[in-house]
Amino acid sequence: MLKDHAKIMHAIAASEEIIGRKKLQKMIYIAKKMDFPFQERFQFHFYGPYSEELTLRVEELCNMGFLNEIKEKKGGYYQYRYTLTDNGKEFLGLNAVEMPNLNSCLEDMNNQSARFLELVSTVLYFDNLPKDEVKEKVFTLKSKQKYTEEEIDTAYAYIESLQEKARH
């Protein structure tokens, strides 16, 4: 029951806390690209891969009382923090999710900035293209983020290290 909800809860529990909706979106997308069996479908939007299904699922989990969402003002905008509630922990205890190696990948991603994860997810979205074309996509589609060549190289190296973590 609610297996896909349980997977999202598992991801948040493994990360202890995820700060920011954007970060949550990118972490799940990247995990999916690492072949972890998340079912949410992502499409490319103005800010990179985004899943409306994931947004709805998180809203449902908050409404069910399985997730805590804390809204806080940061600079000129609002930011959201997500943790599991006690009820959520109990539910997850009864509906265990088996995704070996996911925890270490999530822990690693959670230590990265949302800006960097946005770059990583964009690179992964275009993983069928050669590196030069991916760079061009990043520079044109993400011009406002002003990513550098060096950052893109770092993103490629990060993807490799994450793939390694996902395997072992």
Binding site: M1, F44, F46, Y47, M64, Y77, T140
Partner: protein, 435 residues
């Protein structure tokens, strides 16, 4: 005359119940409509299983695609034409992307995509860029034109203004489907003043913006989106049909994996089952093909497949009960055990369906850069997000409404062969009267 600017000698006009007329002057548009891949959309219903709830909802993705094209044509030719911010070179790109934006949709695509892990956007791109009639027509414009069109539809084009015309929170796609779905379902929601919205739309730097004076027309559009979602798209009876359809596909796949000998072998499903679907196989799939198998599978040996197909074809759908996962997940585990005792496989006959299972979207004000919101252009030239100016939109977009239902076959539960104590407990847990 060069193909990109070639006009038909005489304008072609399609009668249309939503826009009255769809006008075609450009040769390339006429040629695209004539391709087999575009004609295939006639055989794919816009609203999938909704016709089992609203009997009029038999309209197709072909109708809708023409409608989206017509809205973009009006924007390009009547609203944006000669505005300094609008590049006339983008006209043909916008028209082609509008017409082809749903090209990769499969039959009952929501269930199919879920069960077979497919993505219609992938197939839209594959049809536009692959060895197809559509690709040949687009190549006559220029070598890179198919890719430009595919990038706009995938929202990965650098031309963000054109992308936002086809796909944003106030786009031609939604403006057509809301009105068209309202018309064909016969509901009174879904109506808004599109002419007014088109008049207050302006090309912005990265997306379309709405003049502040048009805010109330946009409020109406947002309200109709909200109402159509809950009244039509997420109707519990439609969801019941969707649940059964999904379970048929799961069952057929499972039987194939068990080397079950189908009386009517699902030749068209073979590559889907094996996860090796080619573009050629995909294009052959439409709802006529799928319904043929469902019709034939009513005579299969397998009781579950036979029953589910019969339910779908004869509209003997599952009943539903409200379900609160937070309070009732333990009850569900209990019910599942009781269904097994009653000889009813809970995997196929006890299903929780959640609002997140249906990918229709609400308006979101773009917090934390989730999605680009609707922007108003204020009189002083400032850009403001819609929900900050509109109390009505703020009220809807700030509230979460989610819904879960538990689907089950009430007729099975009346079976006299089920032990009375089991039946009684199921009845109590589902809070239903089976007599």
């Amino acid at each position: 005359m060069a193909y990109p600017v070639e006009k038909l000698r005489e304008e072609k006009v399609f009668k249309d119940p939503v826009h009255r007329y769809v006008h075609v002057r450009d040769r390339v548009i006429w040629d695209l409509i004539g391709t087999s891949e575009f004609q295939r959309l006639r055989r794919i219903k816009q609203l999938g299983t909704t016709y089992l709830t609203f009997h009029g909802a038999e309209h197709s993705r072909f109708n809708h695609s023409l409608g989206v094209y017509e809205i973009i044509r009006r924007i390009a030719d009547d609203v944006f034409a000669e505005r300094p911010e609008w590049n006339e070179d983008d006209r043909l790109l916008s028209l082609c992307a509008a017409l082809l934006h749903d090209l990769g949709h499969g039959p009952f695509s929501h269930s199919f995509e879920k069960v077979f892990d497919l993505d219609h956007e992938f197939y839209t791109r594959a049809i536009i860029l692959g060895d197809t009639e559509v690709n040949k027509v687009l190549l006559r414009i220029s070598d890179d034109f198919p890719k430009k069109v595919a990038d706009v539809i995938a929202k990965t084009s650098k031309n963000k203004l054109v992308v936002s015309l086809i796909s944003s929170q106030i786009d031609a796609d939604r403006m057509d489907y809301l009105q068209r779905d309202a018309y064909f379902t016969g509901v009174s929601y879904g109506h808004f003043d599109m002419e007014r919205i088109l008049r207050v739309m302006m090309p912005g730097e990265d997306q379309i913006v709405i003049k502040q004076t048009g805010m109330h027309a946009v409020e109406d559009y947002i309200m109709s989106r909200y109402q159509m979602y809950w009244q039509v798209y997420f109707h519990p009876v439609t969801r019941s049909a969707e649940v059964i359809l999904t379970k048929i596909l799961h069952r057929a796949k499972h039987l194939h994996e068990q080397n079950y000998a189908f009386k009517s072998y699902p030749q068209h499903f073979y590559s889907l089952f094996n996860g090796e679907i080619t573009l050629e196989d995909y294009i052959k799939l439409d709802e006529a093909v799928i319904l043929y198998y469902f019709q034939m599978w009513q005579e299969e040996e397998d009781a579950i497949l036979r029953d589910l197909c019969s339910r779908f074809m004869n509209r003997n759908l599952f009943k539903y009960a409200e379900f609160d996962p937070a309070k009732e997940y333990k009850k569900l585990a209990r019910l599942s055990g009781l269904f097994e005792k009653a000889g009813i496989d809970p995997e196929y006959y006890l299903v929780v369906d959640s609002s997140s299972d249906l990918p229709y979207d609400f308006y979101r004000p773009g917090e934390e850069e989730e999605r680009l919101p609707i922007h108003l252009l204020m009189k002083n030239g400032e850009i403001r997000e819609l929900s900050r100016e509109s109390e009505i939109v703020d009220a809807i977009s700030g509230k979460r409404r989610t819904d879960h239902k538990l689907y089950y076959p009430a007729d099975f539960l009346r079976d006299d062969s089920i032990e009375p104590s089991v039946k009684k407990e199921i009845r109590k847990l589902l809070d239903i009267d089976l007599h």
